[in-house]
Amino acid sequence: MAIPHFMASGMGGIRSAGDLVARMEYDKNMKVSKAKEYVAKKLGVSTLDIADEHVMRDLREELKIGVITGVPGAPRGIAAKMNIEKLLGIKINSCEKFREQIR
C-alpha cells in the first residue's frame, strides 16, 4: 500500500519535507495546513515547495537534515535529527536520550 498512497497524496518523507510536517502534527497537534505553513516558514520556501523533491533534495543536504541517497559525510540518524530540532524549534525524544548518555 505504500506506493499507491505515496503516489496519490503522500508528502514523500525525506524525499521532501514529509517527516517535518509529520513532526509538527504530532508534536504540536497542528492540522496539516498549519503544519505545512510552519515548516515552509522555517525552511524559507513556499508550502508548494515543501513537497517538491527538486527543491527539497538540495535544501535538505544544505541544512544537514538527511537525504534519501547515500552521501558520505552527510548527517543521518541522530545527527540529522539534532539539526531538525534546531530548525523546527522542537525536542526529539531520541536526541534527548542521546544527550543524556553523553553527559
Binding site: 500500500m1 505504500a2 506506493i3 499507491p4 498512497h5 505515496f6 503516489m7 496519490a8 497524496s9 503522500g10 508528502m11 514523500g12 518523507g13 525525506i14 524525499r15 514529509g18 517527516d19 510536517v21 509529520a22 513532526r23 502534527e25 504530532y26 508534536d27 497537534n29 497542528m30 492540522k31 496539516v32 503544519a35 508550502t47 508548494l48 513537497a51 517538491d52 537534515i65 538527511g66 534519501i68 541517497t69 543521518r76 540518524g77 541522530i78 540529522a80 535529527k81 531538525i84 525536542k91 526529539i92 525524544n93 531520541s94 536520550k97 542521546f98
Partner: protein, 354 residues
C-alpha cells in the same frame, strides 16, 4: 450509454454507467447519514467524488500543494509478515525494513513492531524491543514509533486469564461476562502503560495504538485508560490512536470512559474520547461492505470521516488499508481503487494524513 471501469467492495472489476455510480454514491452517503447521524455531503462534494471514481486514468492523485502525511501501521510486517497481514514473506531485518521505508518508499513516519503486533506478547520481550528501538533510532530520521494492537481478545480464555464474554453470554451469565470485560480492560491498561513507557524510555518518538476496540467497547475503554497513563508518564511523546471500525461494538454494552458509554460510538464521537485520553493524532475507520460497489463504500466512508475531521481538534489520519476507507476488502488492493479512495479522503473528507 458509456460505462466506466470501477470495483466492487471485494475488489472485482466491474463496469458501471455514470448514473449507476452516482446512485450508489448517494446511497452510501445516505447510509452513513442514517446510521451515524452525520452531515449529508453537498451536491458539489458528491459531484467531485463522482469525477474521481469515473476518471479514465488508472492512477489518480491530489493536486500539487494538497499532499498529506502518510503514517503506517504494522511496521516491518508488511515485508516480513505472511499473507494474513498482506506481508511479502521476505525475512528482512527490522533496521533494514525501517530504513527502506524511509529512503525508498517515501514514508513520512514508520514504526517498530512485534511479530504478533499486539501489546500482550511484547511484555516478555520488552528488553529486546527496547534495545532494537535504541539501535534503529540512531540511524533513522523520520518519526519512528512503536506500534501494536491493544487486541484485548488475547486476555480472554483460552488465551488469557479472564472468562470469554462470548461464551459466558451464550450461557446467559451476563453479569459475569461484563465483569470479565471490565477486568480485561484494567489488565490491558496496565500492560499498555508497562510496554509503552519503556519504549518511549528507549527513544521511541511515540506509540501507535492500532485497531483500537477490535474486541469491543471494553477494549476501547482499556486502551483510552492506557493512553491516559502514557500521556501522564510521558507528556511530550507522540500518540496515535487508530480504530478498528466505524462503530464501537457493544460487547459489554455499558462500560464508560469519562462518563461516556463507549458502545455504538461513531468516528466523530470516538475522536472526542481519544482527545480526552491524550492522543495527538486520531485514526478514524470506516469498514468496507464487500457486497456493495466502490462508489457506495467510498460515499459512506467519506461522509463518516468528513464529520470526524470537522469536529476533531487534533489531526486525523484516516485508515486506508485493505477493507477500510472505501478500499476493497482483498489481500492485494487494486491501485486504481486505492488512489481514488485516497484522493477522495484528502480532497473531500479533509483528512490531515493517511
Amino acid at each position: 450509454m458509456a460505462e466506466y471501469y470501477t470495483r466492487r467492495g471485494d475488489g472485482k472489476r466491474v463496469s458501471m454507467t455514470r448514473e449507476a455510480v452516482l446512485e450508489d454514491l448517494q446511497a452510501g452517503v445516505a447510509d452513513a447519514v442514517d446510521m451515524g447521524g452525520v452531515t449529508q455531503l453537498n451536491a458539489n462534494e458528491i459531484d467531485h467524488l463522482l469525477d474521481i471514481i469515473i476518471d479514465k486514468n488508472r492512477v489518480v492523485g491530489v493536486e500539487p500543494g494538497m499532499e498529506v502525511v502518510v503514517t503506517y501501521d504494522i511496521g516491518q510486517l508488511d515485508f516480513t509478515g505472511d499473507n494474513g497481514n498482506s506481508g511479502n514473506g521476505v525475512d528482512v531485518g527490522r533496521l533494514e525494513s525501517a530504513l527502506l521505508h524511509e529512503r525508498a518508499l517515501a514514508a513520512d513516519t514508520f514504526e517498530l513492531a512485534h511479530a504478533d503486533y499486539s501489546i500482550k506478547p511484547v511484555k516478555p520481550v520488552i528488553s529486546n524491543e527496547m534495545q532494537t528501538m535504541e539501535e534503529i533510532q540512531n540511524e533513522i530520521i523520520i518519526p519512528y514509533f512503536y506500534g501494536a494492537m491493544p487486541n484485548m481478545g488475547l486476555y480472554y480464555a483460552p488465551d488469557g486469564p479472564y472468562g470469554n464474554p462470548a461464551d459466558l453470554m451464550r450461557e446467559f451469565k451476563i453479569e459475569e461476562a461484563m465483569a470479565a470485560a471490565e477486568a480485561a480492560a484494567e489488565h490491558l491498561a496496565r500492560d499498555i502503560e508497562f510496554v509503552s513507557t519503556r519504549l518511549v524510555a528507549a527513544g521511541a518518538d511515540g506509540f501507535n495504538f492500532d485497531t483500537t476496540a477490535s474486541a469491543g467497547d471494553a477494549d476501547a475503554v482499556g486502551t483510552f485508560r492506557g493512553v491516559e497513563a502514557l500521556r501522564k508518564a510521558c507528556p511530550d511523546t507522540y500518540i496515535n490512536v487508530g480504530m478498528a471500525g466505524e462503530s464501537i461494538m457493544g460487547i459489554h454494552g455499558m462500560i464508560e470512559y469519562k462518563g461516556q458509554v463507549a458502545a455504538g460510538l461513531y468516528p466523530h464521537q470516538q475522536v472526542k474520547l481519544a482527545q480526552q485520553a491524550g492522543a495527538d493524532v486520531f485514526g478514524p475507520v470506516c469498514n468496507t461492505n464487500t457486497s456493495r460497489s466502490l462508489a457506495w463504500n467510498l460515499g459512506r466512508s467519506v461522509a463518516f470521516i468528513k464529520e470526524c475531521t470537522k469536529v476533531a481538534e487534533i489531526p486525523c489520519h484516516v485508515n486506508m488499508g485493505m477493507g477500510v476507507g472505501g478500499i476493497p476488502m482483498c489481500e492485494t488492493a487494486p491501485i486504481d481503487a486505492v488512489t481514488r479512495c485516497n484522493k477522495a479522503m484528502v480532497e473531500v473528507a479533509g483528512v490531515d494524513g493517511v
